[in-house]
């Protein structure tokens, strides 16, 4: 059974159609990159998969997770089932420490999976270990979630959360944006360490740069709300060389042919 199946996904925001019918199938252990220019709908796709209720999903559309329809499942239940999104713009939570936040999250997920809850002291040790691995100062465990963190630190913190929550499907929404090369490498290493035959990744990015470090199995190009091209890793290299314009032309040509 496929880990994720997206069928004819159409999504609107405030009446405007953003995703115009996406079909995508992801198997266990696969890493898919979704690339595309600004405004193509990449982040919308990430938000809809996470369960953001501000997006209107067409009643005909289906999102299946291990064959189960999760199209209208609330975000917390998707997270407990194993879907995790590293956000492009992680929010700050003043007054709540990273430890307390993630400890609560992990225990919610463990409870759902019928696992015993983890003691906070044991948890903090694990958290600090993961922070070290991903290059985030372990003293940040006591600091409020993302408060006063630099852009790069916020992104690293998202990867720390992913490492702690051990999702089955991880969606990285432009995790590379705003990262310097060292941060990019440590984030990529963090992801690569987690790759295994049971865990899949969707990596959303503008640039091929991140994909040098996290080699995807498949690359899809999203343009104007549709996947206009899919291929293997070489497609990313091609995009890096040619940019997106040649695809725009191709797809627009296709569209005009179709209309005719």
């Amino acid at each position: 059974m496929n880990l994720l199946e997206i069928k004819n996904l159409k999504v609107s925001v405030e009446g405007q159609l953003i995703l115009k019918g996406i079909d995508l199938t992801i198997g266990s252990g696969e890493t898919h990159a979704i690339m595309g220019p600004n405004g193509s709908g990449k982040s919308t796709l990430a938000q809809v998969l996470t369960g953001n209720e501000n997006y209107e999903v067409d009643p005909e559309s289906k999102i299946l997770f291990f064959g189960e329809d999760i199209t209208s499942t609330p975000p917390e239940e998707r997270a407990r089932r194993g879907i995790f999104t590293a956000f492009q713009y992680p929010v700050e939570i003043p007054g709540l420490s990273n430890t307390e936040f993630l400890h609560t999250a992990l225990n919610e997920i463990r409870e759902w999976r019928h696992l015993s809850s983890l003691d906070i002291w044991d948890f903090e040790k694990i958290l600090k270990e993961k922070m070290k691995e991903i290059g985030l100062d372990p003293t940040f465990s006591d600091r409020s979630v993302n408060e006063g963190f630099s852009g790069g630190e916020k992104k690293r913190n998202e990867i720390v959360q992913m490492a702690i929550l051990e999702p089955i499907l991880a969606i990285l929404d432009e995790t590379d944006s705003g990262l310097d090369i060292d941060a990019l490498k440590s984030v990529a290493e963090g992801v690569n360490r987690m790759r295994n035959p049971k865990r899949s990744f969707i990596i959303i990015t503008h640039y091929q740069r991140l994909l040098n470090y996290i080699k995807p199995d498949f690359v899809h190009v999203l343009y104007k709300g549709k996947i206009v091209k899919s291929g293997d890793y070489t497609l990313a290299l091609e995009l890096e060389q040619k940019g997106y314009d040649w695809l725009k032309t191709d797809s627009e040509q296709e569209l005009s042919i179709a209309k005719a």
């Binding site: 369960g51 953001n52 939570i93 007054g95 709540l96 919610e108 929550l165």
Partner: protein
């Protein structure tokens, strides 16, 4: 022809109360004068109403309801059984007041010999009577009838005096309990805290009430703080009440050169609270910090009025207040920083944040600055709103359901002001109240 003053009939019941008996002490004239001056002011001052500046949000009808007959009920002893366990756990009692009577557990705290902790009456005819007198007598006219009432019904109080250079490290815990057994009862606790030059202390003021179902308690509290040069005082005020508790608290503080006051408040419950604090920076290089948290629920009313007056320059003031309102509660914050023309190089930050946890909860905030000096650094800000939907979504995306997300957000919201409160265990103490606040 002499003008006759017609007394508002809603005051008549209060004017009939005779507050004090001699109780074995010889009451000096200056003491009687306080009550007489208070009575005159009480007669002359109007009952505030919603058209008066500073009273627009305050509905005083529970106090001045013609159906009520207020009385004073001076206790013979303190009833410790009425003290909530949680308060005793974190702030075990050293000095206890109940309706005018004071008891001390001196064994519980290791106090230096020279420190005076007493009730006012014990000070009469002692070497400190003059100090008591000079600090109890008015330095300005009462601003409204609640202040006048504190004078009119003045009966007793708690006197704390640290002579020059005396330092106490452990917090001194004071309980001010007001109770109503049979009838609607009014209690007038006065607290006078004087720290002479270079003295240092840490004090908790725990206000609690006890009442039977049929009786309301009106607590009309007055606190005066006097800090000498380079004196340092930390206060944690913990105010609790019942469905039948009406509170009016007035706090004034005078801060001399190089002194510091760190005044922290937890306004936790009760039907009605109006708390006014007025701190005067009277010397240079003073630090005045006011931090507080209001938790408000049901149809309760909680109002905080604060004023810090920089009369001398080169001093620092900080106000950090937060209010959490749920159900149909109304929370009002009024803060004002005044900088006198001579108070150059004053540095002041005033911040209020309100979190409303239901559509019916009203939070009204008005921070103000009044600046007459040109070389100062002053900022103020206020934000009020419900928990952010974006934040709740972030919690959800990590597996945390909205209800738990809100509870963590509430804790985080409170934690930010609790982090500024320099009393140990405040976070632990407040934790169960925050759960109730959801």
């Amino acid at each position: 022809m002499e003008k006759t003053h017609i007394v508002d009939e809603r005051k008549l019941n209060l004017l009939e109360i005779i507050p004090y008996t001699k109780n074995g002490h010889v009451i000096p004239d200056w003491w009687k004068d306080i009550t007489l001056d208070g009575k005159n002011a009480f007669i002359l001052l109007p009952i505030p109403h919603s058209k008066m500046e500073g009273w627009r949000e305050t509905n005083l009808s529970p106090f001045f309801n013609p159906q009520r007959k207020w009385t004073v009920d001076i206790k013979k002893q303190v009833h410790r059984e009425h003290i909530p366990e949680i308060i005793n756990k974190y702030f075990s009692a050293h000095i206890l007041w109940e309706n005018g009577v004071v008891t001390m557990d001196e064994n519980l705290i290791d106090l230096p010999d020279k420190i005076i902790v007493s009730d006012f009456k014990e000070i009469l005819a002692s070497e400190h009577e003059e100090l008591l007198k000079s600090n109890l007598e008015r330095d300005k006219e009462p601003q409204h009838i609640f202040e006048a009432l504190s004078e009119m019904l003045f009966y007793n109080g708690i006197f704390i005096y640290l002579p020059k250079g005396i330092v106490i490290d452990e917090p001194m815990n004071i309980y001010i309990m007001s109770s109503a057994d049979r009838q609607d009862t009014i209690d007038i606790p006065w607290v006078l805290i004087i720290l002479d030059d270079t003295a240092q202390a840490s004090i908790t003021l725990n206000y609690i009430t006890h009442n039977t179902e049929s009786a309301s308690v009106w607590v009309n509290a007055k606190t005066k703080i006097v800090l000498g040069k380079n004196a340092h005082l930390n206060v944690l005020e913990n105010i609790q009440g019942t469905e039948k508790t009406l509170r009016f608290h007035s706090i004034s503080a005078g801060l001399d050169k190089d002194s510091s006051l760190n005044y922290n408040s937890l306004h936790l419950s009760g039907r009605f609270l109006r708390s006014e604090i007025n701190a005067e920076i009277q010397g240079e290089n003073v630090q005045c910090h006011i931090n507080g948290l209001t938790l408000n629920e049901k149809n309760h009313f909680s109002e905080t009025q604060q004023q810090i007056q920089h009369l001398k320059g080169q001093s620092v003031s900080r106000i950090h207040w937060r209010g959490l309102g749920r159900e149909q509660s109304k929370t009002v914050y009024r803060g004002k920083i005044y900088i006198a023309p001579d108070a150059q190089k004053s540095d002041s930050i005033q911040q209020f944040k309100g979190l409303s946890l239901s559509d019916g909860a009203v939070i009204d905030a008005k921070p103000q600055l009044e600046i007459y000096a040109d070389d100062v650094r002053c900022t103020h800000g206020a934000t009020v709103g419900p928990p952010s939907a974006e934040l709740i979504y972030y919690f959800q995306s990590r597996g945390i359901p909205p209800v738990k997300a809100r509870s963590l957000l509430v804790r985080g919201f409170a934690n930010q002001v609790l982090a500024d409160i320099p009393f140990p265990n405040t976070k632990e103490f407040i934790s169960p109240y925050l759960i109730m606040s959801l």
